[in-house]
């Protein structure tokens, strides 16, 4: 019986990245999803509505009247210590920024998925990575950070949903899964995570003693707020948050290396761009160019140390993104002038091809280091 259950859990399925998020959310014991339709991520809520988890795990799924309402429903649920999440795409995530700032200020755990599309404005529905700054550098008002996971496969869409909840609760912070339209829409094989039961109220009281579940006789009232009237109190909250962010930087950096061991040159790319650049590395190596790929999996915390080391070991770095050059600033900060960092990006929903990247690598990075 156990074996067959295990086998069922490890069954390989074929699905879209967005669908994998929905399945993973149910399986990891998510209590509530609140969302608003927007392309290219609507399959997340559609899949949840089709699966009707309220009949199985008891998970609540609700279509809200706006992204603003969604993120505030998440705030309410998260304030009760419930595993809650929302998902959207770039323009919708812009609308959520105030709510995310409140979640960060009130130290509430939750998961936000952004399946990025081209901007600015209404932009396009095609894939983009142009929300890197918004996600990693703040987005909303005030000094806060969000743990940011950047999946590059359908498998990671599922895995990162589970991991995002774990990190959110570990550090009492909103956590972002920052995907793009390609990862959301493409179909790949995936092994879904095993089922975990939803937290009982007793478990919530133990893990989240701050949760507003109703004031019982044995404790003081709990209140969820990001307000402090005295600036001294507000500075204390800020210092607590900053200390936590330093802990996150110390403990939670994730990245993947591909053919880096003997590399003379390094490509840094995340998400879909990393998939493209993996092909570039194979093509370059066939041409005798020793190039490696470093794929940041966490964008905050950023793999600063690892990239800094490659800055000393390699002759040139190329950062590839689907934007006008955002993560490249963090790569440059990481190498701190030790090596030249070039950038190549496509915008407005265009995915660069492996050939394009190889050409740029040869013309901009390799030539310049010979000069």
């Amino acid at each position: 019986m156990n074996d067959s259950k295990k086998q069922h859990n490890e069954e390989v399925r074929l699905m879209k990245g967005n669908e994998a998020i929905a399945h993973a959310a149910i399986r990891c014991g998510c209590d509530g999803y609140f969302g608003y339709p927007i392309t290219p991520q609507s399959e997340i809520m559609e899949t949840l509505m089709e699966l009707e988890p309220w009949n199985t795990t008891g998970m609540v799924v609700l279509q809200a009247e706006s992204e603003i309402a969604s993120i505030n429903m998440v705030y309410g649920a998260a304030g009760c210590g419930k595993k809650s999440m929302t998902s959207s795409s770039s323009p919708g995530v812009s609308l959520m920024q105030e709510g995310i700032s409140y979640l960060a200020g009130a130290e509430l755990p939750c998961v936000i998925v952004n399946v990025m599309r081209g901007g600015p404005g209404l932009g396009t529905i095609q894939p983009s990575q142009a929300d890197y700054f918004q996600t990693v550098k703040g987005g909303g008002h005030g000094d806060y950070k969000m743990i940011t996971l950047a999946p590059a496969s359908v498998q990671e869409m599922a895995d990162h949903t589970v991991l995002a909840f774990d990190l959110a609760f570990k550090y009492r912070t909103p956590t972002m899964v920052l995907a793009d339209g390609v990862i959301g829409q493409m179909m790949e094989k995936v092994i879904l995570p095993p089922y975990q039961p939803r937290m009982t109220e007793e478990q919530i009281i133990e893990i989240c003693p701050w949760a507003t579940l109703g004031k019982t006789a044995n404790r003081k009232p709990n209140y969820i707020t990001s307000l402090a009237l005295l600036s001294e109190d507000m500075e204390k909250l800020n210092m607590r948050l900053q200390t936590r962010y330093r802990e996150i930087e110390k403990n939670e950096v994730l990245y993947e290396e591909f053919s880096c061991q003997d590399a003379n040159y390094l490509i840094v790319a995340f998400g879909t761009c990393a998939r493209v650049c993996q092909k570039t590395v194979e093509m370059a190596r066939a041409d005798g160019i020793k190039v490696g790929l470093l794929r940041p999996i966490t964008l905050f915390p950023f793999p600063t140390k690892a990239i800094g080391e490659y800055g000393r070991q390699t002759k040139g770095i190329l950062t590839v993104e689907m934007n006008a050059g955002q993560m490249v600033e963090d790569v440059r900060l990481a190498v701190n002038g030790a090596v030249k960092v070039e950038f190549y990006g496509r915008m407005g929903g265009i995915v660069p091809s492996a050939d394009e990247v190889l050409e740029v690598l040869k013309s901009k990075v390799i030539i310049s280091t010979f000069e």
Binding site: E65, M73, G76, A77, Y102, G214, S226
Partner: protein, 253 residues
């Protein structure tokens, strides 16, 4: 009767509810908030719901409501209290969940959340303090500010060509299929305080028996914002606010 007889607990006919914390309130003398807070505290105590109640405080003067009522609270961003309440009540359906909002919060920036929460018929209570002004930020014009009424952003009085009409959002909410009880009360006399208490109690009971959204508007005074004494404010309210926002039940099913 001597003073000692009067303070003898056995002779008490009126007491402070235990849920109302014994701390000085920051509200201005004459403000309606204090009375409404006390009513909520009394009702929660009478219903024995302290351990099952979650209040949602808005942005506005009542952002500090958590200091005064000894229950769990969440503080929402401006206008979003009904969405926050939805998130809580959907995941904790056996709890008493209420929002406490002012006119700017509920009827301007939070109009969408208010209407959609009520239209979904979320099993929550919305306590709506309507004093026709933004009190906390210093007396600016609100969506419910009356025509001709002066505020810091309508110094010569609100005019329709410039500001549009005052919004009777409670009337609008009564039209929605999701609301079960919509009423307008005040707390400026002993009689109206008693009526308001009955209304809030009924709303809370509706929320616990899953009848839909209950809305209790309290037409209130903001004597600091109105630049009148507490007593003048009450008179001004009766004379000017009540004709525009008449007291009574708008819906009760």
């Amino acid at each position: 009767m001597t003073t000692n007889d009067i303070i003898n607990p056995a002779n008490l006919v009126y007491d402070q509810p235990k849920i109302l914390n014994d701390v000085p309130m920051h509200y201005c003398p004459g403000c309606s908030h204090g009375v409404v807070h006390k009513l909520i505290a009394e009702i929660i105590e009478e219903m024995d719901m302290q351990d099952k109640t979650i209040g949602i405080a808005p942005v506005g003067c009542s952002v500090f409501a958590y200091k005064y009522l000894d229950i769990d609270w969440q503080q929402a961003s401006h206008g979003r209290a009904p969405a926050v309440a939805t998130g809580i009540k959907r995941l904790l359906p056996d709890r008493l969940v209420f929002t406490y909002q002012g006119d700017g919060d509920l009827a301007a920036i939070g109009t969408a959340e208010t209407i959609h929460t009520a239209n979904r018929g979320e099993n929550i209570t919305i306590i709506f303090i309507n004093n026709g002004i933004y009190g906390m930020t210093g007396g600016q014009m609100a969506p419910t500010t009356l025509n001709g009424m002066k505020s810091s952003t309508s110094p010569n009085g609100r005019t329709v060509p410039l500001n549009g009409h005052p919004l009777d959002i409670t009337k609008l909410l009564a039209q929605l299929d999701g609301t079960c009880y919509v009423t307008r009360q005040s707390v400026h006399t002993v009689a109206t305080v008693r009526k308001a208490k009955k209304a809030i109690r009924k709303a809370f009971e509706n929320s616990m028996s899953n009848k839909g959204t209950s809305v209790v508007e309290i037409v209130s005074t903001c004597n600091s914002g109105w630049k009148l004494s507490p007593s003048q404010s009450n008179d001004w309210m009766v004379e000017n606010m009540f004709p525009a926002y008449p007291l009574g039940d708008l819906k009760d099913i």
